[in-house]
Amino acid sequence: MALSPVFLKALKRSPWVFHVGTSGCNNCDIEIADCLTPRFDVERFGVKLVGSPRHADAMLVTGPISHDLKGLVQQVWLDMPAPRVGVLVGTCACTMGVYKDAYSVAGPADKVIREIDPAARFVYIPGCPPKPETIVMGIVKILEAL
């Protein structure tokens, strides 16, 4: 989809994210929430956590995807209006981390989502968990790269 420059600029300044906590350990989720709080305050960059995927521009995934969640995560991805981007926070979301050998996980988020949307674009912020500084840096880099 061709984006007009005005819209792209606005999108860069106002990425709203929907947080999809998956089968991870919760730690990345907490560091994400930490980014909203006074010390890091990502609202400076216009980032806002929203409660419905319909409002979101980016999907924040924070863990490996279990078999039980796989279909749901795929549906939520489709629930987001285009243009959309996936942000994989933490080693587990990127590569499954320590859960690589576990029997109950279906794969890292990018693989799962690409099954239904091959054109999906992702941003990876590895770390276990990434420090809030890292996440903020990651977000800023995403915005620059868009």
Partner: protein, 615 residues
């Protein structure tokens, strides 16, 4: 133009109705349809005429029972409205009863006779004649309710009792009003020329009797209870035709005539009438909010809306009277539409329990849109017709300096809106329960009246000034009505719904244009998001019946409403209980012992003698 033309709207349905009584079913339906159409045509023909028909018929001493009918701009329009209601009802009924062995009993015949009676009330130029036609309508209501539904008998009896009480009051009032000794004591012109002062007991009593008659017919609190009771058994066409629209028209028409031209109200009486209006608004709408049966819910709104008319007329100001009368016309339109829609849904979905309905907007789009418009209209959302008339009533409250009643009226509108949000949501929005998967749109005969009425809602709203200038002014019985009207209205101000509408449309279009300039035209359909898991249509529902539980759980309010639902405030039930008590007491006196009876006889004789000698 021939003066006899005035009789046409009465004679056509009257004669055809009597003929139809003796015809077989199918012919009766045809006759009903044609007869009501002809009535409508006759009514429309009258709208621009000002004629009166007079025939001295019977002179009993001072009492001239003249056979006099008249039409002015206003009553002409009303006559057309009655015809329209009859026509739409006949049309609707034809489709409604299709596939069920046709209309039950002699429905069309009674319908026509009722229409004739209503036309008679509207066109009468003589109070006695009006009362006569009035009784015909009451009788027809009784007959229509029990036609085809034997379980309707208790409801019909209740209605007949309350209306009978009202009619007795009306007759007494009529007699008192005419007993002041004029040449033509029952003639409208005479009455208007000699308005009754209400400074003394006689005046107050007369007015109250007349008011009771009008209020019972229109269904103002506390004489309203027959309407919700009959909402269950009466079929939707009957509900839409009489209790919801025509009875209101007749009751308020009479009230307007009485309190505007025949009686001069003292401020105290005005206040009382306004209070009745305000209480009716709030009581009706609050009761409506907790109903789960759509017809019963609508019938409480039918009560509530009367409050606006009574309130408007009670202010005694020109704006108020115009607002009340205009609201009466508007009410007939949107309320008939709502009852038609509810009936259509009941017929197609097989239930009128709001908790079991849902998601029908796709299955019944026309019914839905018509009910949507009518619901917004009854809630007084601009720029629909309900807003125009309610706005006049609000203005009247300001002119009459009655802030409390103004707040009640405005708050009543909010509650009405809330109630209809519940209705619309329960019937048409939300997920469709799996049980309703096979539901289809109502037939064309049912859709047409709804569409027609919904269009009228919009037209009378957007061009709300026109009927005020053209038709409703003359009720005040002033010559050159529109001139006086313009002057009178300017004092309080006019509202130009047309301008607002045009601006609103421009604004909405500008918004859509801006959205398109944003570049986003892409649209995609997805199932709803309820947290990720798929929607279970049978379970994941939030039906409208659940909307106002919180309100119901408010202290005091909930308990009062429950009491209202149980009939604690129902005059009929109260008097029924009282009457039952008296009868039980009397029955206990019948011991069967002859000496006891002798004792009572002696006691009675003693009492009579005592009174006799005392005085």
């Amino acid at each position: 133009m021939n003066a006899e033309l005035v009789l046409l709207p009465i004679l056509i349905p009257g004669v055809l109705g009597l003929v139809a009584l003796f015809l077989p079913g199918r012919l009766r339906a045809v006759l009903g349809f044609l007869g009501s159409l002809a009535t409508l045509a006759a009514g429309l023909a009258l709208v621009s005429t000002r004629e009166s028909f007079h025939h001295a018929w019977l002179v009993l001493g001072p009492l001239n029972l003249d056979f006099s009918f008249r039409v002015d701009g206003f009553t002409g329009w009303l006559s057309a409205l009655v015809g329209l209601c009859a026509f739409f009802t006949a049309l609707y009924a034809a489709d409604f009863f299709r596939g069920r062995g046709g209309a039950p009993g002699r429905l069309y015949a009674w319908l026509l006779i009722a229409a004739a009676g209503a036309e008679g009330v509207v066109l009468a130029g003589n109070l006695l004649l009006l009362v006569l036609c009035w009784e015909i309508v009451t009788l027809m209501l009784f007959v229509l309710v029990i036609t085809g539904s034997p379980e309707g008998a208790p409801a019909a009896a209740k209605a007949f009792t309350i209306l009978g009480f009202g009619d007795v009051a009306l007759i007494l009032g009529t007699v008192l009003l005419g007993s002041r000794g004029f040449d033509h004591p029952m003639d409208f012109a005479t009455l208007a020329a000699n308005p009754l002062a209400t400074g003394d007991l006689f005046g107050v009593l007369t007015f109250l009797l007349l008011f009771a008659g009008a209020a019972a017919k229109a269904g103002a609190v506390p004489l309203h209870t027959w309407i919700p009771t009959m909402a269950g058994p009466a079929s939707p066409p009957v509900m839409a035709f009489l209790p919801a629209s025509l009875d209101k028209v007749l009751g308020i028409y009479l009230l307007a005539r009485v309190s505007v031209s025949w009686v001069t109200l003292t401020p105290g009486l005005q206040f009382a009438v306004m209070a009745v209006g305000a209480i009716t608004i709030l009581a009706g709408v609050l009761m409506a909010m907790v109903q789960h049966d759509v017809k019963r819910l609508l019938s409480f709104h039918a009560v509530s809306q009367v409050g606006y008319m009574v309130l408007g007329i009670g202010t005694g100001t020109l704006v108020g009277v115009l607002g009340g009368v205009f609201h009466m016309v508007n009410n007939a339109i949107y309320k008939a539409c709502l009852f038609f829609g509810a009936g259509a849904v009941e017929r197609e979905a097989g239930t009128r329990d709001l908790g079991k309905l849902g998601g029908l907007h796709r299955a019944m789009p026309v019914t839905f849109l018509c009910m949507f418009v009518a619901a917004l209209s009854i809630s007084g959302v601009p720029p629909l017709n309900g807003f125009v008339s309610k706005w006049l009533v609000y203005q009247a409250c300001v002119v009459a300096r009655q802030p409390l009643f103004l707040v009640a009226a405005l708050f009543g509108s909010v509650l009405t809106l809330a109630s209809f949000v519940k209705v619309l949501h329960s019937m048409f929005w939300g997920a469709r329960p799996p049980a309703l998967d096979g539901v289809n749109e109502a037939g064309i005969g049912m859709r047409l009246p709804m569409v027609g009425l919904a269009i009228l809602c919009v037209l009378l709203g957007v061009f709300g000034g026109a009927p005020l200038d053209q038709a409703i002014g003359p009720v005040k019985d002033v010559p050159a009505a529109s001139v006086a009207l313009a002057g009178g209205l300017d004092a309080a101000g006019t509202f130009r719904p047309g301008v607002v509408t045009i601006l609103l449309v421009i604004g909405v279009l500008a918004g859509i244009l801006a959205a398109h300039l944003g570049g986003a035209r892409a649209r995609r359909v997805r199932s709803v998001f309820i947290g990720g898991e798929p929607l279970d249509r049978a379970q994941n529902r939030f039906p409208g019946t659940e909307f106002y539980r919180t309100v119901h759980e408010m202290p005091l309010l909930g308990r009062t409403l429950d009491a209202g639902e149980k009939g604690v405030f129902d005059v009929y039930a109260i008097f029924g209980k009282l009457g039952g008590g008296v009868i039980r007491g009397l029955r206990s006196l019948h011991t069967g012992v002859i000496t006891d009876y002798l004792f009572w006889c002696l006691l009675g004789l003693g009492a009579v003698l005592a009174v006799f000698f005392w005085c």
